[in-house]
Each structure stands twice: as C-alpha cells, then as structure tokens.
Amino acid sequence: MAAITVEHLSHVYSQGTPFEKTAVDDVSLTIEEGEFVGVIGHTGSGKSTLIQHFNGLLKPTSGRILVEDRDMWADPKKIREFRFKVGLVFQYPEYQLFEETVAKDIAFGPSNMGLSPEEVQMRVQQAAQFVGLRADKLEKSPFELSGGQKRRVAIAGVMAMNPKVLILDEPTAGLDPRGRDKVLGEIKQYHKTQGNTVLLVSHSMEDIARYADRVLVMNKGKVAMFDTTENVFARSEELAAMGLAVPQVSRICRGLAARGLNIDPNCYTIEQAKQQLLALRAGKGADQNA
C-alpha cells in the first residue's frame, strides 16, 4: 500500500493578489510504505510547501492527497487524524518547546491523540530512547539543555506520536558534525526498528546519499526527478543546472573514471568508493605479483 499518494497537487500562495505565487505546480507522486525518501531542491523549489501538504497544514489549491489511500481533505474536520498519521518535524524544531519538563513536552503530541496516561508514558520513554536521551534528562526543563539536545527532544516529540510517516525538514541544520551524525543515525535506527516511512529534507547531498533509498528532486515547484539514489546522482549535469550538486565522493569517482581508472563513476557513498578503490589496489597488487 502506498503511504502517500499525491495527485495533481498545486498550491498557490496569496491567490488573487499581486503577490500571487505558485509554489507547487501540478505534482503527482507516490511514496511507498517503509521507504526512506530523501527530498532535495534549491531554496524556494517548493519542497517545504509540498511537505506541509502531507500532514494537512496546507490545503491544496487543487489536486488531492491520499494517505493510506484515503483522501485527506474529504472531511476537513477530521484533518487532525492525518496529522497523527503523518508526523512533521519543522526546521529548527527546538523553538517549539514550551513545557516545564522534557517528558511533558514529548508527551504533548501523544496526549493530543487522546491516549491513556500509561500509553503516553510508554511512548515518551520509547521516543526518548530513540533519540538517545538519558532518563535523568526527562525531568529537566527543556530550556536547560544544549542546542543539540533540545533538537533531539523536539524530534522525539514527533516520534512519540508514532506516525506512519515521519517527515523531517532539515533536522541537522545548525548542528555540529557530531550532533548531525548522531541525529541522522537515530533517525535511521528509528526507521529500521519501526519500519515506518521517513522523508528527509536536506541540503547535504552526503546525508541523502548515505541514508535515502529514493530521492525526490524538486525544481521550480515541479518534480524534477524521483528515482533511486543511484539513478538520481548519476544525472549530475541536470542536478547542477538546478543549482544542486552530487556528493563530493561522486565527483571524485567520476574524475578518477574520466582519467582512465577502472572505477564505477556512479558510486555515491564513501563506503562504495572505498571498496572500489581497495579492490582496484588489490587487483593492481595481484598484477604486480603475477
């Protein structure tokens, strides 16, 4: 079953005024259940507008969005139901924290779902574990924590709703490299154990290359590409034309291949490149020994 199906979605901001702007233009796509999808696109390409449609924060100007094959806006009064199915973590989510303690803040989402206090407690513990928050942090005020910890609390607040689809809008913006790896690792772990669908919006091609199964490329409000990570990064000229880049390691591999080295020009993670280079060296060694 498809997790999210988008049919001819368009969104126009400030329709009928001089400030009218089409942010998403006739987009159709299907996101399968359990996928890890990377979303990339230049600033203003419509990716933020698109993902805000997935959990009903924005209403389509035209077109339909189906979550688990049900039309989201069939009954606008029931839109909250879909917000629990599709969790959205905004950019800089730590600015939404407000409760006295970390535990209470994480519990905000699940409490809104109307779960029993025991269930909420369980969800909070579970979510805290996913983002690596120790138990003693749970009773602290969220405002005492460091920036990276606040970020993880905010992400846990959405994970605790256990949404079928988890969307993260640049969850690593402004974090140091270690915090970034940690947060992304936790998200990957969550995806693995829960088997939920994850959408990751990022400007870092390296992160996308490392974690995503498929990549959605947005350009000027339209879907430019939606394919496996390998296929997307193989089209580096097209990406460059959209103001996007391929991971650095792809560029190195391509350069090496162009210089006549027997290496796959389309490898896009450091791991792949390493294996190829090691294999190459081993092969060379074998040649010399022979």
């Binding site: 917000r83 629990f84 969790g87 905004f90 600015y95 939404q96 407000f98 905000f108």
Partner: protein, 271 residues
C-alpha cells in the same frame, strides 16, 4: 492567514505628500484635527472633507484603503450617531413611546459622524504616506525639546522603531510555531473560551522565549556597533524643511482661516 494583518499601514508612493518632512506632516495632521473641531456647521466641515479628498487625490492612495481604515471604527461612529440622535434636545421630528428624535439631534449625529470619519481618514493619511521609521524619526525630532526636562526622547523613539521593525518578524515566527504545534496535534480551532485560552500556551511560551532571545541578540549587535544612546548621535538622513513643506503649511493655514470665516458668516445647522 496571519500574514494578512497590516500594521504600520504605510503605502509606498512618491507623491508630494509622501515626500514632505515627517515633522511638518505630524504638525499639519494635528492642525487638521483642530480644524475639524473648529468647524461648527456643515459648510465648515464640507471644507474639511474637500481638503482631505484633495490630499488623498494628490497622494494616490486607493479609495479601498481608506474604507479599510474606517472599518474598525464603524461601531464607534454608529454608537455616537445613535446617542446624539436620541439625547440632543430640540424640535421633535419623530416621537414613539419614550423615544424622541429631534431635528437638532439628527444634524448633530450627522455632523459628529462626518467629523469622526474625517478624523480617522485624516490621521490615516499620515501613516499611509509616511513609513513607520520616518514617522518615529519625526516624532523624536518634534519631541526633542523635552530632552531638557530629562525625558528620554531618543530612547522612546528607538523603542518604537524596534517594536515596529519586529512586528513582521514576530508574525512570521507565530505562524511557524502555530504550524509546528498543529503538527503535534494541537487543536486551536475548537472548544470553549477556556480551552482556547489554554491552547494558546504552547504558542505564547515559545514566542516569548524567542522574543527575549532576539532582544538579547539585538542588544549585543547594537553594542558591537558602538550604540550608546542618543547623545552625540548623528543621522544618515537629515530632515530638512523644503518649499513643499512651507506650501503645505500655508494651504492648511488658509483652510483654517476659511473655516473660521464660514463659522462667522454661515453658522448653519445646530441651533
């Protein structure tokens, strides 16, 4: 949704009125208010209306904007009109039970309504044609004699400027926080008054925190650029009175004279 709110209703343009010195515009606006209250009859008020209409014409402000600025005061206008209609004594025109409407009441009601409309439209013209920053600059300069009385004029003006500057920023921030809490299932649209007030907590607390954070950052940034209050501070844009300001002042003065004359020679309406 929230973005539709307009505060600081500046309508950019390049008319004579737009380019006038803000100090002169403030003074003339006050003069115009005085003028409205000096006009005792319909003829005097008509001069006030015509004067304002010409000003709006010159400044190229669309009529729809004027109507928009008048919308919030409609209840006040209706309220004053009704009060005047029923409570001014004079020759009864209409009588039913204890309700009496008099001729004088009716004319006072009409007079007051026109006056309030002119008052709002007149002062709106000032804010339509003057950007908030220039306006506070003008206020600061006008109030600067009060510095001798140890009134912190510069600080007050700076506070106003900063407040105006941050309104759009905070609106955007509120929008973002609202979306984030809605994504966590916050229900902002239903429930009774108490429930709705409670639903605001998750929005107001992050908003306050971010406002404090911004204040801290701004203070630091200002200090880094050696801001230390108004003492000895020079300006990038010097305000200068030009011929158009003097012409404006003369026109307003002549209009006031006309109204005084009309008051003397045509004391119409109101006995």
């Amino acid at each position: 949704m929230l973005k539709d709110i307009t505060i600081g209703q500046y309508f950019p343009g390049n008319s004579v009125i737009h380019r006038m010195d803000p100090r002169m515009k403030i003074v003339l606006s006050i003069a115009y208010i005085v003028m409205l209250f000096m006009a005792k009859g319909f003829s005097g008020l008509a001069v006030g209306v015509v004067f304002l209409a010409i000003c709006y014409g010159v400044s190229h402000i669309p009529v729809s904007l004027i109507l928009k600025s008048l919308k919030p005061v409609v209840p006040i206008i209706l309220f004053t009109a009704v009060l005047n209609m029923f409570f001014v004594e004079g020759d009864p025109l209409f009588q039913w039970a204890f309700i009496t409407i008099t001729k004088q009441g009716l004319s006072t009601a009409a007079l007051m309504s026109v006056r309030i409309v002119c008052l709002i439209a007149g002062t709106s013209l000032l804010t339509y044609t003057t950007s908030p920053i220039v306006l506070t600059d003008g206020i600061e300069r006008l109030l600067s004699p009060l510095k001798k009385l140890h009134l912190p004029v510069h600080e007050l003006a700076m506070m106003m400027t900063i407040a105006l500057r941050f309104i759009p920023t905070l609106i955007e921030e509120t929008d973002k926080i609202m979306s984030a809490q809605k994504a966590r299932g916050a229900d902002l649209e239903s429930g009774g008054l108490v429930q709705r007030a409670k639903a605001l907590v998750p929005i107001l607390i992050p908003l306050f925190i971010s406002a404090f954070r911004r204040a801290d950052d701004l203070a630091l940034a200002m200090e880094c650029r050696c801001y230390r209050g108004g003492e000895g501070r020079t300006r990038m844009k010097q305000l200068k009175l030009t011929s158009r300001d003097i012409v404006g002042a003369i026109i307003v003065a002549l209009t006031i004279v006309a109204i005084i004359l009309l008051n003397i020679f045509f004391p119409l309406a109101i006995a």
